[in-house]
């Protein structure tokens, strides 16, 4: 029997670290070669890490949300034969990543302090390495809450363990002298799932729970990107109403004729087409701004970022060279990217390099929105919901299909005037859709 260390693989050029997203194995589990061990995430893509060996999992190299360096210890396996770990290395973890290993061995007690009973699931063989706080859900209704301001009585060791377990000691009954809460009280409370004792009363109770949800994984990336964008870019927003009655009838007609063979069209490919055409006269809007270096790069090709909502959060895959695609190619491209994003299957190249972004909330679209620019681009156009509304035409009230475009621009490099003219150009194209096809 030997020990085999699986390290964080080199996932792509220039990537020095990855974020651990989830584990698919647990300590004590026997696994086979190629079995899916963990998901890790780089800036852009989530990658599955398979096992190179058969073996038994001895330790896991961290908790979801943790960032690991490429080459850091990911999983420690017990394997047939010699393994790849020499005797003298086994006991002294060298790197920081190793120090963070969640292992089967209980942590050594510190001399002179009371050793708390090991908290259940983390170190128990065969159990998932869930963070401690998950082991004891916060109580849903107060059990025996103390008066406001009254401190629960417990020694520092008990208090610290309660914090680690995510238990609010105010709800834990203490059996010790003067109501002191001991380790045993805490264990009993945790074992009971933090459930309240019997005792009726009103449903109108004060609630004191707090829950911290770690912002990790894609959520963290999104948060960082949004903050970066809003912090760095002075946004200028502009909303315009577009009459899409004719566009809508064209779309339906095209779907009737070609839907079965070429695929059905949504409004998005038309918008993409209008954007491509309008951008010809506004090259400064199809651009990326490097504010550190102080230059704007304009692009001839339109690499269209198409914001896609996924279960994990917002992603912006890129439709490359939208200017070279017809309506149906464009529709197919967008559909493929949206699916790929939902399944987390897109490559890094498909998630970077956009020059302008189109975002749609679809049926939820609202009246107007203030889209956040996809840094380092300089513009984003958002589509709001299409609604049928009464309009006056030649003194007559007629029903028209209306839709708002909500757009934001980087006011450092795009003037308000140009922004407005660009959206007006899009509007003109959309309201007279024949123009979309005139070269």
């Amino acid at each position: 029997m030997g020990i085999y260390i699986i390290r964080v693989p080199d996932i792509g050029e220039g990537i020095a670290e990855v974020e651990l997203v989830s584990w698919h194995v647990q300590i004590g589990q026997n696994i086979t070669e190629d079995q899916h061990l963990a998901d890790v995430m780089t800036d852009k893509a989530t990658v599955e890490v398979p096992s190179p060996m058969h073996g038994k999992v001895l330790a896991l190299g961290g908790q979801p949300g943790q960032v690991l360096a490429v080459g850091a210890e990911l999983v420690r396996l017990e394997v047939e034969g010699a393994g790849n770990l020499k005797e003298n290395q086994a006991s002294a973890p060298a790197s920081q990543a190793q120090a963070a290993i969640v292992s089967e061995a209980p942590a050594a007690p510190v001399a002179g302090t009371e050793t708390p009973a090991p908290a259940a699931p983390v170190s128990a063989p065969g159990a998932a390495p869930a963070p401690l706080r998950a082991s004891a859900p916060p109580p849903r209704t107060p059990a025996a809450p103390r008066k406001e301001g009254e401190r629960p009585l417990a020694s520092p060791a008990v208090r610290r363990r309660a914090q680690d377990m995510g238990i609010d000691l105010r709800y834990v009954p203490g059996s010790g002298p003067a109501g002191r809460i001991g380790h045993a009280d805490l264990d009993a409370y945790a074992a009971g799932g933090g459930q309240p004792q019997a005792g009726g009363g009103t449903q109108y109770v004060q609630r004191h729970g707090e829950e911290q949800i770690p912002v990790i994984g894609l959520r963290r990336k999104i948060a960082q990107k949004m903050q970066e964008a809003k912090r760095r870019i002075p946004h200028f927003s502009y909303v315009e109403e577009v009459d899409v009655t004719e566009l809508e009838s064209l779309r339906q007609r095209l779907n009737q004729i070609h839907g079965a063979t070429r695929g059905r069209l949504t409004l998005l490919p038309f918008l993409a087409r209008a954007m491509v055409l309008a951008l010809r006269d506004f090259p400064q809007i199809n651009a990326r701004y490097d504010d550190e270096a102080g230059h704007v790069t304009r692009y001839e090709g339109v690499h269209l970022g198409v914001a896609a909502q996924t279960d994990a959060g917002l992603m912006v895959p890129v439709l490359r060279h939208a200017e070279s695609l017809d309506l149906w190619q464009c529709a197919a491209g967008i559909a493929r990217l949206a699916e790929g994003a939902k399944a987390g299957r897109l490559a890094r190249e498909e998630l970077s390099g956009s020059t302008i972004t189109l975002t749609s909330l679809g049926a939820l679209g609202g009246i107007a929105s203030t889209p956040v620019i996809n840094h380092p681009e300089v513009a984003i156009v958002g589509v709001n919901r299409m609604v049928e509304r009464p309009m006056l035409r030649g003194g007559q009230v007629v029903a028209r299909q209306l839709m708002n475009l909500s757009s934001s621009f980087d006011h450092r490099v795009v003037d308000g005037m140009d922004a407005a003219r660009f959206i007006q150009a899009m509007r003109a194209l959309l309201e007279t859709p024949a123009l979309l096809f005139v070269e």
Binding site: Q63, G65, Q66, Q96, A97, A99, A100, P131, R133, R151, L153, A154, S155, P156, Q163, D164, G166, G176, P177, A178, G179, R180, Q212, P214, R231
Partner: protein, 464 residues
């Protein structure tokens, strides 16, 4: 500008900042610490440590002088002398050893230390112009403010020349003949007493009616007695109007009479103010609690990802509070559930006699509506105190009447600062009077007075 990205950026290398950085390093968090002056902050360089060194030197000198006058222990020494420059060098040696030690601990924990003043650009970006090298822009996920505090100046008497801050008093150029201390808080009294022992004539001016006005009268009475005995002149309920070199410090008393106190040095020790301006902190527009940066039970400020600890966050402005908060923040950044909610934060005055306050005083407990009992045991009845020639003072305990849970300890007397450990522990552990009363304390020690105070509160002290 060169850029550096880190997970945690700590501004300030005092006990708050350096402990946070060491703990973060231990937990594997990439950490950068920026310090403009010296590692160790106020505490190691110009606060706790050098003041205690000076106090010890003064004490030793006084003992020698006392023995020269003939002591009842039968010791005689010849006319003792003090070379104050050598005393300051000795003190500086201790400071150097300790600050060097902090540097080594930070290195061992993998913390990158940058020497220079930090300028905050936003909640995630800080620029530093290091003492040597080119300016740096530091980006971080978490920003920790541990910028400490600075002494408050009196507008009529700005620091400089004959007007000393506590920092100047810790590195005297020469021994003053006549020292006026403005402010009878712990810093003013600790240093005033030390200077008296070193041979200066010391006068203390205080606006409140009492010395150490934040403590109760029973507790400060032995200090007041000792001050008078030592020959320190007190002017209580007096306000300071100004200073001129010819007449000294202008003072107005409660009856609005004005007089001057001649002095060749004036130590202004009227308090400390949090260091919140001059480095871009205003730009973050954090919520404030008065002059201090407001924090919650997690040491979070009102801005996400920005934390604050230590003196910049308020009272008690003490090194051990800053350290405990630093540890608490580092562990939270490492993903652990933590709150800063100790049962007590001890406070010690290294006056002669020393004063320790841990937990609630009887007055505070009663003001909180708690039915409590308190009892004191005097050192006059403690054998060890007699052998140390220091029978002044007492240990006092405060406990709930219903279940005898200990709420507070206070002590005044020589060497009582070391009792703070036992006091703090009993309160954190939730001890009752019986727990302490029935713990065997070694004989003969000052600690026996602790046990006896608990027994006395239970109604059956043995030695009184």
């Amino acid at each position: 500008m060169k850029e550096l990205t880190t997970k945690l950026l700590v501004i300030g290398g005092g006990p708050g900042g350096y402990v946070a950085a060491i703990r973060a390093g231990q937990l594997g968090i990439p950490t950068v610490l920026v310090e403009g002056a010296s590692l160790g902050g106020t505490c190691l360089n110009i606060g706790c440590i050098p003041s205690k060194a000076l106090i010890h030197a003064a004490e030793s000198f006084e003992v020698a002088r006392h023995q020269a006058a003939g002591s009842q222990l039968g010791i005689r020494v010849a006319d003792p002398q003090i070379d104050i420059a050598q005393t300051v060098r000795w003190k500086d040696g201790i400071v150097q050893r300790l600050t060097g030690g902090v540097g080594a601990l930070l290195r061992k924990a993998g913390v990158q230390v940058i020497k220079g003043w930090a300028q905050i650009e936003d909640g995630k970006t800080v620029t530093v112009k290091p003492q040597d090298g080119e300016p740096l822009r530091l980006r971080c996920e978490h920003l920790l403010l541990a910028t400490g505090s600075t002494p408050v100046e009196l507008p009529s008497m700005p620091f400089g020349g004959a007007i000393w801050s506590s920092t100047d008093a810790l590195s005297p150029d020469a021994m003053p003949k006549r020292l006026v201390v403005v402010g009878a808080g712990y810093i003013g009294l600790e240093l005033g007493i030390a200077y008296r022992k070193l041979g200066a004539e010391v006068t203390v001016v205080e606006a409140a009616q009492r010395v150490l006005p934040s403590y109760d009268e029973e507790l400060t009475q032995p200090v007041l007695d000792a001050l008078k005995k030592s020959g320190i002149v007190l002017h209580l309920a007096c306000s300071v109007q100004g200073w001129d070199a010819q007449h000294g410090v202008h003072v107005r008393n409660a009856r609005a009479e004005e007089f001057a106190l001649p002095a060749d040095r004036v130590l202004v020790a009227v308090g400390r103010r949090p260091h919140t301006t001059g480095f871009g902190l205003e730009g973050l527009q954090l919520d404030m609690a008065g002059r201090y940066v407001a924090i919650d039970a997690h040491c979070r400020t009102s801005m996400r990802g920005v934390w604050a600890i230590g003196d910049v966050t308020g009272e008690p402005m003490l090194a051990h509070r800053a350290m405990a908060q630093g540890e608490c923040v580092a562990e939270q950044i490492a993903g652990q559930n933590r709150r800063f909610e100790p049962m007590q934060i001890p406070a010690v005055c290294f006056t002669d006699p020393e004063v320790v306050v841990v937990g609630k005083t009887p007055g505070e407990a009663r003001a909180a509506g708690i039915d409590c009992i308190d009892a004191a045991f005097p050192f006059a009845a403690n054998g060890r105190a007699m052998t140390l020639e220091s029978t002044g003072g007492f240990v006092r305990v405060v406990a709930r009447r219903d279940n005898h849970l200990i709420l507070g300890w206070q002590a005044v007397g020589r060497g009582v600062s070391e009792l703070a450990a036992a006091f703090g522990q009993s309160i954190e552990m939730g001890a009752r009077l019986e727990d302490v009363g029935h713990t065997i304390h070694a004989h003969p020690t000052l600690g026996e007075a602790v046990q006896e105070a608990a027994l006395r509160a239970l109604g059956h002290a043995l030695h009184i």
